[in-house]
């Protein structure tokens, strides 16, 4: 059993009267990729920024690598690497200069060119940061978060706003870190990202933890049902469908049906026959395997990707 490198107890953060993080507790193990998954506004950034020494705690405690964050901030800062959400560096310095700048902030730091190589930035070594694409900027940010050879790396929404290719590059960089035995704390609102990268996922909603575990574990516990998705239905078809099918969720023009074994085939064929009758048509019908998206939907009634409220 690997040791816990992060221990968080009864953590609370209030902004004025508003409670952004509402009494959460969790532990993160050495060498794992731990993902906070939740829609915008769930409290992911606030939670990780308290661990990154960026925000004060309203209540509760955080212990990182044996150091209490309220007493030993500087010891913690030396041992963690952080890619904050919407971070900035000097746009008028090159990739090399920016990484070197941050490297020199630490008493011990790794070789800058080896980091540049590790993140595949050799071609851009002497390009000003301002001329980089979003994906490259993000990779420079990850390189900078590694300058002190940290034991724990925090990545706050590392792939938000990136195109699929750039996202895959960042994913590979994260897998690389795990392979090197680093502990990675990740936040994301993309369920594929959590499912793909994380050993354990912690689902946040309105500042609270609503579920925590491995993806498979969460899916089999809370999202375990396959879904029948019938998309872009006419009103008439929708009415027919919901009359015939016992359990359903409506999402705009779409009808979602939980498949929980037993009657599955019956439900599918009924649905197929309804959308086949003359004008009451839908555009598409397919079966979706259970995902973390479904876990979130089941636990909150909200959709993950469209935002919380």
């Amino acid at each position: 059993m690997p040791e816990n490198v992060i221990k968080v107890k009864s953590l609370v953060k209030k902004y004025g009267d508003f409670t952004a993080v509402n009494d959460i507790s969790f532990n993160i193990k050495k060498g794992e990729v731990f993902a906070f998954l939740g829609p915008n506004g769930a409290g992911k950034t606030t939670t990780v920024e308290m661990m990154e020494c960026l925000k004060s705690l309203t209540a509760g405690s955080i212990n990182i690598l044996g150091y209490d964050i309220k007493k030993d901030e500087i010891e913690i800062k030396r041992r963690i690497g952080v890619l904050p959400q919407d971070f900035g560096v000097s746009v008028f310095l090159t990739v090399y200069q920016n990484i070197d700048y941050f490297a020199q902030m630490y008493p011990k730091h790794v070789n800058v060119d080896s980091l540049i190589k590790m993140l595949g930035l050799e071609d851009k070594r002497d390009t000003l940061f301002m001329y980089l694409s979003g994906g490259l900027k993000q990779r420079v940010g990850i390189a900078i978060s590694l300058v002190n050879d940290p034991e724990i790396i925090f990545l706050d929404e590392p792939t938000t706003g990136l195109d699929p290719k750039a996202r895959r590059d960042v994913w590979n960089a994260i897998k690389d870190l795990k392979a090197r035995g680093k502990t990675v704390v990740l936040t994301t609102h993309y369920m594929e990202e959590a499912q793909n990268l994380a050993d354990r996922v912690c689902i946040l909603h309105n500042g609270q933890i609503i579920a925590e575990g491995t993806s498979e574990d969460l899916i089999s516990r809370y999202g375990g049902d396959k879904m029948l998705i019938i998309r872009k239905c006419s009103d008439k078809a929708k009415n027919e469908l919901i009359k015939t099918i016992p359990e359903y969720t409506i999402d705009g023009d779409n009808v979602l049906v939980k498949l929980s074994g037993g009657d599955d085939m019956k439900i599918i064929s009924k649905a197929a026959s309804i959308i086949d009758t003359g004008k009451s048509t839908c555009e598409e019908l397919y079966i979706k395997k259970a995902t973390l998206e479904g876990v979130f939907l089941n636990l909150t009634g909200d959709k993950l990707t469209e935002g919380g409220k």
Binding site: E52, C53, L54, K55, S56, I74, K77, R78, I80, V82, P84, D86, F87, G88, V89, S90, V91, F92, L93, Q97, D100, Y101, F102, Q104, M105, Y106, P107, L128, G141, I144
Partner: protein, 252 residues
């Protein structure tokens, strides 16, 4: 110490990688001097011997322009950089590393002061080359330039604590510089101004900066210059202290 020297090194590189800064620091003060010198020089010649020492209007103008430049660039650089770094998330990143906000501000104060002094040197060189003025650069005038820069950098840091974007920072620092310029006897000798403006003159730090520079560089009136230096340094410590005490890069 190595964090401060690293920040110093890269802040200079950053500044000179941005070519507009070269215009601001080295061309602008020179142009300002030539322009004002020519426009106001003619006007000034109608007020001959307007001070006891009988210096000409260019002599009168140079220290004032240096003082205005210190006011504008000192305040604007400090406020603009801080607001920009806060907004673009540079502080957010820096705050996760071991450098403290006081180390950062210490490095930047050194760098802003050196930059201002460098550009003053260029302007003085231009004044000598084109107008044939040889101001007397001595310890007092140098100390006045440093104290004046610290004062207005402190003011800029103070402003940055209260404004949210660069536009507002620019408006506040430049607006203040403009107001101070009007009332500080830079272009118009104080004695020729109406009494209520003369009152504002007394409380404007720019007055003491430009008079101190004038006394030390042109008229050789060391006693007055030392008094002015004491006032500028005192105000500098005050503004600077308040500004940096309020300066915090965490976003709680």
């Amino acid at each position: 110490m190595s964090r401060i020297s690293t920040d110093l090194k890269y802040s200079f590189i950053e500044t000179f990688n941005d070519k507009t800064n070269i215009a601001i620091f080295f061309i602008f003060p020179t142009i300002l001097f030539l322009l004002l010198g020519n426009v106001l020089g003619g006007l000034g010649s109608q007020l001959p011997n307007n001070t006891a020492s009988g210096m000409n209007y260019f002599d009168f103008l140079l220290p004032g322009i240096l003082a205005i430049f210190i006011t504008m660039t000192g305040a604007q650089m400090a406020a603009g950089t801080i607001v920009n770094y806060r907004k673009s998330g540079v502080f957010r990143k820096l705050a996760t590393t071991p450098i403290s906000n006081m180390e950062w501000i210490a490095a930047r104060i050194i760098m802003w002061t050196v930059l201002v002094l460098l550009s003053l040197a260029v302007a003085i060189f231009a004044a000598w080359l084109i107008m044939g003025i040889h101001p007397n650069i001595n310890l007092i005038s140098l100390l006045l330039m440093v104290a004046g820069t610290a004062l207005f950098v402190g003011f800029g840091i103070l402003v940055a604590n209260f404004v949210k974007d660069e536009g507002a920072a620019f408006t506040v620092t430049m607006g203040t510089a403009f107001l101070l310029t009007l009332v500080s006897g830079t272009f118009i000798p104080v004695e020729t101004m109406p009494w209520f403006l003369q009152y504002l003159t007394k409380i404007s730090p720019l007055t003491y900066l430009s008079e101190g520079l004038r006394s030390s560089m042109i008229t050789g009136n060391t006693g007055d210059a030392v008094t002015d230096l004491a006032i500028v340094a005192g105000l500098g410590i005050l503004l600077f202290g308040v500004g940096t005490a309020l300066f915090n890069w965490k976003e709680d």
